[in-house]
């Protein structure tokens, strides 16, 4: 295999460096990862979950070793035992949170607020651990985002959500009495309904802003050698993406619901006849509703994933490198549909294949343009990043930290 970049002999005058494109190649195999995944699963089950961090380290190592950028693969240096310690710490935290909920509402609220307070710090620590333990061509990466920056980035969604939860926890329902209690209860329910609508509106407005700030925080923190990444991400483009995404979500959903109504009415579901017709019509209606929900997801998730990846990565650059992402929504949509169908049919045995195919599609859509010779890069002095607690935290909350 020839290297894309090679060092030139010193006798010749160095020619001006022509910017060259570095492509990403993913060589992972679904069947091979399936075997790794099965053994991981068995060991995790047999150890009642204690093996999980080791399984995760093996998974990351496999995906890294198969991610080639300009012919050189990534390398994962994370120590699985450190990740295990972080895992135990987080299991304890989550356990305390779960138990607190059973004791009293106050305890649950305190635990919830404590978890919220610590979550951005864990998120940052997770990115620091993952990147500091990733290397390419022997050069370690790093995450330079500040702690304050992490809290500021999550603030647009955090503060309204916390306020809403606090309001619903402390709002006292009316005491059950006799007659007039019904009217008071109805008024209270109406107020709660309005509160819920207001909260949903705030969430809908704040989410694109939240996404902008967090993506900016992440991408401005990436570093390798002396290359510091910067991203040019105006909030308006994120709002545009979210609006388009919502429209994409609504159309199939409305179609499915409309078709469901039509069929249900055709079966005379709304006339009061013998139970059979009602049951059948209602079940068909429910099935179509589920189908609409499923179609929504199969369309919306790939749409956001593809467009977001393109938007954010194409706007990311460093001193000598610029990124381009050309992930087509249609390609991701068909792949997602195929994945979900096969996962459902094989009772989830297809999951590792799905993961590998999705990784290939998403990674190979990204390419880099380097305006200088990467062989000339040199590492900055690095401080140790030894805290692995955050990495497992990222998985616990189901947030994808990977590049």
């Amino acid at each position: 295999m020839e290297h894309v970049v090679d060092a030139k002999p010193a006798e010749l005058a160095p020619a001006p460096f022509v910017p060259r494109q570095l492509n990403i190649e993913f060589t992972g195999s679904g069947s091979e990862y399936f075997r790794i995944w099965i053994v991981n699963l068995l060991l995790t089950l047999v150890t009642l979950g204690l093996y999980l961090p080791f399984a995760k380290a093996r998974r990351i190592r496999y995906f890294y070793a198969n991610t080639h950028i300009a012919g050189q693969a990534l390398s994962f240096h994370g120590d699985a035992w450190k990740m295990f310690r972080g895992f135990v710490l987080l299991a304890v935290l989550m356990g305390v949170y779960a138990i607190a909920g059973h004791f009293s509402q106050i305890a649950a609220l305190i635990a919830f607020i404590a978890l919220c307070a610590v979550w951005p710090a864990l998120w940052r620590a997770s990115m620091q651990f993952r990147l500091a333990n990733t290397s390419w061509r022997g050069l370690r990466m790093a995450f330079d985002g500040s702690l304050k920056g992490a809290y500021l980035a999550v603030a647009p969604l955090y503060l309204p959500l916390i306020a809403f939860v606090a309001m619903t926890q402390f709002a006292e329902p009316p005491p059950t009495g006799e007659g007039e209690a019904d009217a008071a209860a109805a008024a209270a329910m109406a107020t709660q309904g309005l509160l819920l609508l207001a909260a949903m509106a705030v969430v809908a407005l704040m989410t694109p802003w939240f996404l902008t700030l967090t993506k900016r925080y992440q991408h401005n923190g990436f570093r390798i050698a002396s290359q510091q990444a910067r991203v040019d991400l105006p909030a308006s483009r994120m709002y545009g993406l979210c609006v388009k995404g919502t429209l994409v979500a609504l159309i199939p959903g409305l179609l499915a619901v409309g078709a469901g109504f039509g069929i249900a009415v055709a079966f005379g579901a709304f006339k009061d006849q013998e139970g059979n017709t009602l049951g059948l019509g209602l079940m068909i209606f429910m099935a179509l509703l589920l189908l609409g929900y499923f179609v929504c997801f199969v369309m919306v998730v790939p749409y956001f994933a593809a467009r977001m990846q393109n938007l954010v990565w194409s706007a990311t650059r460093s001193e000598a490198v610029s990124f381009t992402s050309r992930l087509k929504f249609r390609a991701l949509f068909w792949l997602t549909l195929k994945n979900w169908t096969l996962v459902a049919l094989t009772l989830s045995l297809y999951r590792p294949f799905a993961a590998v195919h999705t990784a290939r599609l998403r990674l190979e859509a990204v390419s880099l343009t380097a305006s200088e010779d990467v062989a000339q890069w040199s590492a900055r002095a690095r401080g140790g990043m030894q805290d692995a607690t955050g990495d497992i935290a990222g998985d616990f909350f189901g947030i994808d930290m990977g590049l």
């Binding site: 295999m1 195999s29 080639h68 290397s135 061509r137 022997g138 989830s348 040199s378 590492a379």
Partner: protein, 346 residues
């Protein structure tokens, strides 16, 4: 003279971790040390135990991570595997399992078997242990919470007259006392009669010993008051075996395992098998409670067949409801026919 066998050498790229330059080197293993040398440069070495060795896979670049931060990159993976085994470097058992389809299939079977064992025995046993560990005071508190919640949403004070309520309580207390030699020590309990409104004829037990029974149920069995005693005995069985807490613990365990197995897709697929497993656990609980009820009734000298009338009337009400409402696809109670047969046994 010693014929010292020259250890096999392999070509690699050395990245020193300080610059991005690739340095072609030759690598060899000798006496527990990993050596590498570039053309015309002195060789360097580290102990093999200090280096991070890659696992054997068909795909993926082989990287040996050196303790000082450098990396040795091997372009040809199969050549690396051949060289490593020729140099006497073995591989771990886990890798062997992963690279063999036969062993992987065996792993899959073992995994399915483990899941089955967990479902049938492991989770209930773990839930039982967790519940035994939970102090009664906490259990009582959970019960109080739930009662307050349920009282607020679904229940109103009972519409029965004081004498009717006292009769129900007295009859049950008498039966419980009479049956104590047969059932053994009974848990602390408190019977509450409420107007259940839309709940219809119903009874349920809360953690901590509160048992709620609705007016509608008392009125339904007005001509067979001992049937109410039987229902209360069934609920007392739930209290004794702490089914409420067990249910919560088992649901949590099921959710965790479903999440582990199904991962990203769990939100869509986990609900069905988890729900079915839950229903299965519920039927086990109901059978246990029925057994306790029958023992209590027999111990108190009441004919268990009094429950048969209750089941028949409940079934009729359910049928009426089905005609006007949603078809009931799943049930957490064992079929009424089974319960009738159980209570009719001599």
């Amino acid at each position: 003279m010693n014929a010292h066998r020259e250890p096999p050498r392999l070509a690699a790229d050395y990245f020193d971790g300080i610059s991005g330059r690739a340095n072609p080197v030759a690598v060899w293993l000798d006496a527990g040390q990993l050596h590498w040398a570039a053309e015309g440069s002195p060789p360097r070495a580290v102990a093999v135990s200090n280096a991070v060795w890659p696992e054997r896979q068909r795909h993926g670049q082989r990287h040996v991570q050196l303790p000082d931060g450098g990396v040795l990159v091997f372009a040809d993976a199969p050549a690396f595997d051949t060289w490593a085994s020729a140099s006497g470097y073995g591989e771990s058992g886990v890798v062997r399992w992963q690279q063999s389809w036969r062993l992987t299939s065996l792993a899959l079977l073992l995994f399915a078997a483990c899941l089955l064992v967990l479902w049938r025995w492991g989770i209930p046993a773990a839930a039982g242990a967790a519940v035994a560990w939970m102090p009664e005071a906490v259990e009582a508190q959970i019960g109080q919470h739930t009662l307050a919640y349920v009282d607020r949403l679904w229940l109103k004070p009972s519409q029965l007259d004081a004498k009717a309520q006292a009769d129900v309580l007295q009859r049950f207390a008498d039966a419980a006392n009479a049956a104590r030699p047969a059932t053994g020590p009974q848990p602390a309990y408190r019977i509450l009669i409420r107007d259940g409104g839309k709940l219809g004829p119903n009874a349920f037990a809360l953690p901590g010993g509160d048992i709620v029974v609705t007016d509608a149920l008392v009125k339904l069995m007005h001509d067979e008051p001992q049937a109410v005693t039987g229902v209360l005995a069934h609920e007392l069985g739930h209290v004794k075996h702490r089914h409420g807490l067990r249910q919560a613990a088992q649901a949590a365990a099921l959710g965790a395992i479903a999440g582990l197995v199904l991962g990203d897709f769990s939100f869509l697929l986990a609900s069905a098998p988890a729900m079915l497993a839950q229903m299965d656990y519920s039927r086990d609980f109901e059978r246990q409670a029925d057994l306790y009820a029958r023992d209590l009734l027999r111990g108190a000298g009441i004919d268990p067949r009094v429950m048969v009338v209750f089941f028949e009337r409940i079934e009729k009400i359910a049928d009426d409801e089905e005609r006007h409402g949603l078809p009931i696809a799943f049930s957490s109670h064992p079929a009424n026919a089974q319960r009738i047969a159980f209570f009719s046994q001599r």
